[in-house]
């Protein structure tokens, strides 16, 4: 058997990678140990969240699956940070853990060029430092031109509950025993990471009357850019808020040495951004209580997920902990919380394309690269899928810049800074978040999706039309004025004045904090002839123009630095006077541009000046 592209693993990275490669016309195989686990959500029952929701939009803009599958399978959706600026708004949906994987599997089964193969991969075929194929457990060989590893937490995984451990993956699935050993032999630097998941509680045993309800938004929201709606606002499920109590904290403190983490039973490094409850209580002693969210996993079964209560305490302590929560005094635990340790590769061994530096045509995406989260995985998956195809076709790698997408920020962080803990995306990781908005994903990325054949001509034409309409509207606002004649009593009232003397163009007028484009539409100052989205874009652009321009100026600086290439034959030992830490870091990362070098922690401005001078002296000689 021979394929162009093989993807190993059917999680969120694997789904996007195999889908993208197949749609781009390559004969593709998705190899997974258990077809039932394709698109599985082994941890929280939600898709999106701060920054993550924007990644989902970006995947949708590029032509990926996650957004539309989430739209079709959630039972609650809301816009986070609605009270803040447009840059940090982000969607989060409670996706049904039964429906989401089902729709994902169907989507993949309906994808042309894509075969789904069940099997455990235990070896890789490598010739001349180039990947040639895989060997399954039954010794069956499958050859390929490019391979994408998206093994998630299954590499040498170990489940930890208190002092007990089991050598298996999530859901009691078999783990991959030999693959990480093989990767190590090939020259990969293997790191050990840890993550965790909280208890699942039987819905019927919770007294919800004691808890505060958390509802979905009262407005139709979608990840997919076409705004196609698959749910009914009225039928959204509720989540609930619960607080830890003094009793909870005492139980945890009294039993700390029994926790896998604090008892010294774990070796992996866990994420600071998604800490276990014992971590939170130890680190923030003064906090009297912590918030927990009760989230239904599915409409089709009764498990309630306790967001924020992940722990590696033994089962009997978990019983006490759960029963110390108001409303959960008699709750029945259906699944105990556990920590999971797994192997990952050091992402510094990756190129910006997600191809490994160690083996040609071998790509990796998702948790194997040290990230955490479904969205982070899927974002890497689509990029790895696209780049595997482009590598086969001898095309230049597709690299999203930090000013283009959170996916670009994610990959650049990974390959430049590496990671010691599972990497979770945060808005604060992006320096240009006002440019990387939820609302402009299509304007940023659709063109790429279309170029790669992942976005249809029809959708692309819509984008072009939208761009044109945005420009038309901006010109209209610049060319037309508000003055004594057309101003209305309602507008005067909003402005808290009796009349205006001199007119001003509508563009400048919209910059006033009290004036909105909605108001101008309602008062018939501007015609209502475009999509809502067009007005929205123009309003954001005008209102935040000052700040947007500030960021664009910074982008310009960045791009200038990005354009300063560092030749890959550079010998850092010959660059005199670099600080030794900086020299070591530069050798490890081997940045391709000055901009990337500047982002390496431990490489100081003085090191950068020295490097820059060296480059000028050594490489500009022949100018």
């Amino acid at each position: 058997m021979k394929y162009d592209v093989i993807v190993v693993g059917g999680g969120h990275a694997g789904c996007e990678a195999s889908h993208a490669a197949a749609i781009m016309g390559k004969k593709t195989a998705l190899v997974t140990a258990n077809i039932k686990n394709i698109g599985d959500m082994p941890c929280n029952p939600s898709i999106g969240g701060t920054a993550k929701g924007i990644i989902v939009r970006d995947i949708d803009a590029l032509g990926g699956l996650m957004g539309i599958v989430a739209d079709k399978s959630h039972f609650q959706i809301k816009m986070l940070n609605n009270g803040k600026g447009p840059a940090v708004r982000s969607l989060r949906a409670q996706a049904d853990k039964v429906t989401y994987p089902k729709i994902m599997l169907e989507s993949l089964q309906n994808t042309k060029n894509l075969d789904i193969i069940e099997g455990m991969v235990e070896d890789l075929i490598v010739e001349n430092n180039t990947i040639k194929g895989i060997v399954l457990e039954d010794n069956k060989k499958i050859l390929c031109k490019a391979l994408i590893l998206t093994t998630g937490t299954y590499l040498r995984s170990k489940i930890l509950i208190g002092d007990k451990n089991k050598l298996e993956g999530p859901h009691g699935e078999r783990r991959s025993k030999y693959l990480s050993k093989k990767l190590k032999e090939l020259g990969f630097d293997i790191i050990r990471l840890k993550t965790g998941t909280p208890q699942r509680i039987d819905k019927k045993t919770i007294d919800f009357s004691k808890l505060k309800e958390e509802l979905g938004d009262n407005e139709y929201l979608t990840f997919n850019i076409e705004n196609e709606v698959f749910y009914n606002i009225e039928e959204q499920e509720k989540c609930h808020l619960v607080y830890t109590t003094e009793k909870t904290h005492k139980i945890i403190n009294d039993n700390l040495n029994k926790s896998a983490m604090y008892g010294g039973y774990a070796e992996g490094v866990g994420p600071r951004y998604c800490p276990s409850i014992e971590d939170k209580i130890v680190r923030f002693k003064d906090k009297e209580r912590h918030q927990l969210f009760l989230e239904p996993e599915s409409k089709y079964y009764d498990d309630i997920y306790i967001q924020g209560f992940s722990t590696s305490m033994p089962e009997e302590v978990q019983e006490q902990m759960v029963h110390s929560l108001p409303g959960l005094e008699n709750a029945k635990i259906l699944k105990y919380a556990y920590a999971i340790e797994y192997d990952a590769i050091n992402p510094l061994q990756l190129k910006p394309s997600l191809e490994t530096k160690v083996i040609d045509n071998l790509f990796t995406a998702g948790q194997i690269n040290g990230t955490s989260g479904y969205e982070e995985a899927a974002g890497q998956g689509i990029v790895a899928g696209i780049n595997a195809v482009r590598k086969i076709d001898n095309k230049k790698a597709f690299v999203l810049k930090r000013n283009e997408s959170y996916i670009g920020v994610l990959i650049d962080d990974l390959i430049t800074k590496g990671t010691k803990e599972p990497y979770r995306m945060l808005t604060s990781r992006a320096e240009f978040r006002l440019l990387l908005r939820h609302d402009n994903a299509d304007l940023r990325l659709r063109k790429y999706g279309y170029e790669f054949g992942l976005i249809s001509k029809e959708k692309y034409d819509k984008l072009i039309e939208k761009e044109e309409n945005i420009n038309k509207l901006i010109n209209y606002l610049k060319d037309n004025k508000i003055n004594k004649k057309n101003i209305t009593p309602v507008i005067l009232n909003v402005m808290n004045i009796d009349s205006i003397e001199t007119g001003t163009n509508l563009y400048m007028f919209l910059k006033r904090p009290e004036i909105s484009i909605d108001l101008l539409l309602k008062e018939n100052i501007i015609p209502e002839i475009y999509d809502k989205e067009v007005y929205n874009q123009v309003e954001i652009f005008i209102k935040y123009e000052g700040y947007i321009n500030k960021e664009l100026k910074e982008v310009e600086k960045l791009l200038k630095l990005e354009s300063k290439q560092i030749p890959n034959d550079i010998d850092y030992d010959k660059v005199h006077n670099l600080a030794s830490e900086a020299r070591q870091k530069l050798k490890n990362v081997m940045p391709t541009t000055m901009a990337q070098a500047a982002r390496i922690s431990g490489v100081n401005p003085s090191d950068l000046s020295i490097l820059s001078i060296y480059l000028k002296k050594e490489y500009n000689k022949n100018e």
């Binding site: 005199h576 001078i613 500009n620």
Partner: protein
Amino acid sequence: MNETICAISTALGVGAISIIRISGEKSIEIVNSIFKGKDLTKVNSHTIHYGYIIYKNEIIDEVLISIMKGPKTFTTEDIVEINCHGGISTTNKILEILLTNGCKLAEPGEFTKRAFLNGRISLLEAESVSDLINSETEKSRTLSINGVTGNISNMIKNIKDKLLPISANIEVNIDYPEYEDAILLTNKLIKPVVEEVKQDLEKLLQESKNGKIIKNGIDVAIVGKPNVGKSSLLNAFLEEEKAIVTNIAGTTRDIVEGKYNLDGIILNLIDTAGIRETEDVVEKIGVNKSKEIIEKSDLVIFVLNYNESLTEEEINLIKELENKNMIVYINKNDLDKQIEVELINNKNIVYGNTKNISNLEELKNKIKEIFNLEQIDTKNMNYLSNSRQISLVNRAILALDNCLEQIENNVEIDLLAIDIKECYDLLSEIIGEAYNDELLDEIFANFCLGK
């Protein structure tokens, strides 16, 4: 390869010893060729040797030679220092001999430039060191040394530390909108912090103005109609023994006529062409130039004659210069009074007679009073001493101004975070914690790299 450069590195004519510094690949070889004593090419690094400078078989001076081999030197190149006897003529003679034997005269700051380009010192240190080298009085030297030892850095770091918790809190509010773990920041809570930081920066800027005076001195434009006695006033200053140099060529200023050390502060005295309405083209250029000088100066000394009536031009010009620091110096007070003092709307009027030097005291006191020179304390200097740093502080203040304006407009906190971060980054740049590629480009534009 870099040429071997040399320069006199002590103030010429001051002190008993002068030092000539030579840096570059051939420095030891060149000095050895004019030295009678040990073979300098064979001595250990970082040693001192006694001997004579010989030229055409003639002993020029008895000297001590310090040999410092790279890379453990200031420029990282081989450096030789010749300690010779301090007279101007001897020192100049040795310099000449070095130049004839293959050294190139160093440009101002070239040693520092090499130290920076060879990665020996950071840009910030380069700035400070070059300030140090260029400083002309003890007060300005103290200021530069403070720059090197990082008083400024600590101060800026403290200011940055006030912004950091705000930024961090905003980020937590954005990334964890549903969690109550951090207090929810509001514009009202952010405002006092931003205001406080702005005040800190404004104070720093104000103090830096004093720093500028210490480092660069006070530019004084001497103004008046032709033949009013401007040159006499200038000469009166320069005839005093404290006058340093006259007619310095090649400085950035067009016509620095003289420098005067006023209790540790340098007065850069600039004579201007007489200002009057004219149709004569050549004279007009001179007049325009004068106006430019007046514009840039820190202080104008307007010279009038006691025994002459004010002209309309004089009255107009005095009016025009209302907003400048100005002293009206009424000269020739030994003659009969004709001047209409009541028409001069200026409280800083000094009478004098340039024929009698002691009359300058009143003028000098007036200058000290205007610039508050008695109050300037170099001991606890935390002043920014160069224009790049000052302009960065100005930009940081602008970012905070914008932030305060947007706070009033009820702009969301995640946008205010952009202003706060901008301010933070600019402050980092001042103390060399942020990499600025443009700055380096600028240096490359000005420095010729040996290719």
